[in-house]
């Protein structure tokens, strides 16, 4: 029995690549994400965004006549499954590039595999700094965590004209600590004062103690870069204590649950995000119209980032098709050797790395030398429990 299994395995190893090689003719792109599990909404949104971008590209004739095909793997939102999924995409499906994941911990599980295999990976929405530090084949089309801290500091000082702001950070979240640190640094360098720097721990339900301490320093606003579940409660308790100044935050606020729990208390507050469906930019409005007709719903920021990641890849492939048709042909398939394929993938990587001012739905994307996207963030205001676009702030 063991021998039989071994034989099958050997057969698989020998024939597998051959079978894939023969498929040829299509550009195969890999995607991994949480289509099931606790973060399934993220994975599904990304998937819809990517599918829309690829469908548009194919309807427009593909890349120089070559059609694109996406192989999607479900990782159930678990890092270990993410590693398995990427392994399969890279070794079995022989994808030319990988798109994913949303959650930084899952991206960190998949990235080393792509890096080792020399397959470019573009994360649509992992904001943790460490993701692209894995290696030179790993990219992202979203901004990184600390950037939002700087954006909100600029917004508070320049747009709202505030000079005294208190901070309330979540001590159990690297995300919150990162944002708060950069906010403090930027706000002080602009000339503002941080009058209080208090903290809580994720999962607390009573925030009155730190809020009272902040209130005593009479701030003009409170920067609370936590997640929506905590922020909703913080807003309520702040209003109960008689704090009327606005709260400021980051994309961790972006959930319908925020207004569900915060109710009226969260009105008049501001947070930074990747994109706003109110943005009157024609690129954004066209995307929303297309997405609506395809899925009958308004896309969220995650869907927009998935769309941008896929579109950026298609754009780079188009450039490659005109600039280096030979390497492009190797990518499309057709029995090229391993070395040639690796060279072609490196070429693809170099082209992605040279992206400058790509007009994405989530803003103009420029990749820096650390393969992070330099792009503007939008600031949203919450009014009557709805988000309204305030302004776009460039890095």
């Amino acid at each position: 029995m063991k021998r039989l299994l071994g034989g099958f395995l050997l057969l698989g190893i020998v024939l597998g690549p051959l079978a894939c090689g023969q498929k040829g003719g299509d550009l195969v792109i890999g995607e991994y994400g949480s289509l099931t599990g606790p973060t399934a909404t993220f994975g599904k949104s990304t998937n819809k965004g990517i599918a829309l971008a690829i469908r548009h590209a194919n309807e427009a004739g593909g890349v120089g006549g070559t059609m694109l095909r996406v192989v999607t793997e479900d990782d159930q939102g678990k890092p270990e499954e993410a590693a398995t999924a990427v392994n399969k995409l890279v070794s079995q499906d022989q994808v030319i590039a990988v798109l994913g994941e949303v959650a930084s911990s899952n991206s960190l599980a998949g990235a080393p595999i792509c890096q080792k295999a020399g397959v470019p990976m573009i994360s649509p929405s992992s904001t943790n700094e460490k993701v692209t530090e894995v290696g030179d084949f790993i990219f992202r089309v979203c901004f990184i965590d600390p950037f939002q801290g700087a954006v909100m500091a600029k917004f508070a000082f320049q747009s709202l004209g505030l000079t005294r702001v208190g901070i309330l950070r979540d001590l159990r979240s690297d995300y919150s600590i990162g944002l708060a640190g950069v906010f403090r640094q930027t706000f002080e360098s602009l000339g503002g004062t941080i009058c209080a720097d208090e903290s809580y721990q994720q999962g607390d339900v009573d925030f009155r103690a730190p809020l009272t301490a902040i209130l005593a320093t009479r701030p003009q606003a409170i920067f609370a870069p936590g997640y929506y579940t905590d922020v909703g409660l913080i807003a309520r308790q702040a209003r109960d204590l008689g704090i009327t100044v606005p709260l400021l935050g980051g994309d961790g606020w972006d959930s319908p649950k925020l207004t569900e729990i915060g109710g009226k208390a969260i009105d008049g507050c501001f947070f930074s995000n990747h994109y706003s469906s109110d943005d009157q930019n024609p690129v954004v409005q066209e995307f929303i119209a297309n997405y609506r007709s395809a899925y009958d719903e308004v896309p969220d920021a995650i869907a927009a980032l998935g769309y941008d990641a896929a579109r950026l890849l298609v754009h780079v492939l188009t450039v490659m098709h005109t600039e280096d048709p030979d390497a492009f042909a190797v990518l499309v398939g057709g029995g090229a050797g391993r070395e040639k394929r690796q060279a072609a993938q490196r070429k693809l990587r170099d082209l992605i790395a040279s992206t400058r001012d790509f007009p994405g739905v989530t803003g103009s994307i420029t990749l820096d030398e650390r393969r992070n996207a330099l792009k503007p963030a939008v600031v949203l205001k919450i009014e009557n429990q709805k988000y309204t676009f305030v302004e776009r702030i460039a890095p």
Partner: protein, 302 residues
């Protein structure tokens, strides 16, 4: 000064919650010498019962639902939890009552884990948000200190329930029986007291108190999840020990003290020490006065 007074108000109202939960711990311990570690999870179930009953009766309206609606929600949660308490006692604690105390303790931990995981399975792991069945109103006290009607409600409820319990224990026949059972279960049983019934009664009351606490907490801090009973449960236990376990006024004193200590530490030093202070207090009281603040030292009977 204003900040300090405000922190004091925050602490006292949060302490009221600990006091309410601690009452259940203290009663069960007084009667059975059992630390019911599942108490915090009964509290969690109470919050969910209230959450769903708001949906069943269609009470999720803007601007509160009136007294009748509130009473209905409290009644569902308290009766449901009283029933749950009885079921737990019958199925988990009674079969091991004649075994060692350690067995009962481990059983309690088992029940606690069972309730938590069943909660995750049935209610889902993501937090739910409790609707505002009583609209929050801020009351201004002198010296610029503010307090909400929810916080006042918590304080009034914990004091009222403590007084009610004292009355039941010292002024009624059932209470007399409870005291007899707590004094010596076997002797009480020989005197014709239906000890099983008294124990059930104690569990039912303790669990109903936990449910009342849960509804009050859900009103002020409207986020409920299946693990919400874990930390408040342990802290209320510490509060019960602090005040003198088995002692009803002691539970209230211990709860208030804990709430104030926590809030002051979180407000003036750091929120990282918030949980540490509870256990530091426990260690100090066990070293200095093991019977608790209001507890009497019991000499070993020969």
């Amino acid at each position: 000064m204003q900040e300090f007074l405000q922190q004091l108000v925050n602490g006292v109202s949060w302490g009221g919650i600990y006091a309410l939960i601690a009452l259940g711990y203290t009663m069960v311990y007084g009667i059975l010498r059992l630390i019911n570690f599942a108490h915090g999870d009964v509290y969690m179930v109470g919050a969910y019962l209230a959450f769903y009953s708001v949906g069943w009766f269609g009470l999720a309206r803007e601007g509160g639902v009136g007294v009748a609606g509130v009473v209905l929600v409290f009644a569902v949660a308290m009766l449901g939890c009283a029933a749950l308490g009885i079921v737990i006692e019958r199925s988990a604690y009674k079969p091991v009552r004649r075994h060692s105390k350690l067995t009962a303790l481990i059983t309690a931990i088992g029940v606690s884990l069972l309730l938590e995981n069943a909660g995750i399975l049935i209610f889902g792991a993501d937090p739910k948000f409790f609707p505002q069945i009583i609209e929050s109103r801020t009351v201004r006290l002198p010296a610029g200190v503010v307090i909400t009607n929810h916080q006042i409600l918590i304080l009034c409820c914990s004091c009222f329930l403590m007084l009610l319990l004292q009355l039941v224990i010292y002024r009624t026949k059932v209470g007399k029986a409870m005291r007899a059972v707590s004094f010596n279960r076997d002797a009480a049983s020989l005197m014709g007291i239906a000890t099983d019934r008294i124990i059930i009664f104690t569990f039912a009351i303790g669990s109903a108190l936990a449910a009342a606490a849960a509804v009050l907490v859900a009103l002020t801090n409207p986020k409920i999840d299946p693990l919400m009973g874990l930390l408040p449960g342990i802290k209320a236990f510490v509060a019960a020990v602090l005040g003198g376990i088995g002692n009803v006024p002691g539970a209230v004193v211990g709860g208030l003290l804990m709430g104030v200590a926590e809030t002051l530490v979180a407000g003036y030093i750091s929120s990282t020490l918030r949980d540490a202070i509870a256990f530091s207090l426990l260690i100090v009281i066990l070293l200095v006065k093991p019977s608790g603040i209001l507890g009497k030292a019991v000499s070993e009977k020969v």
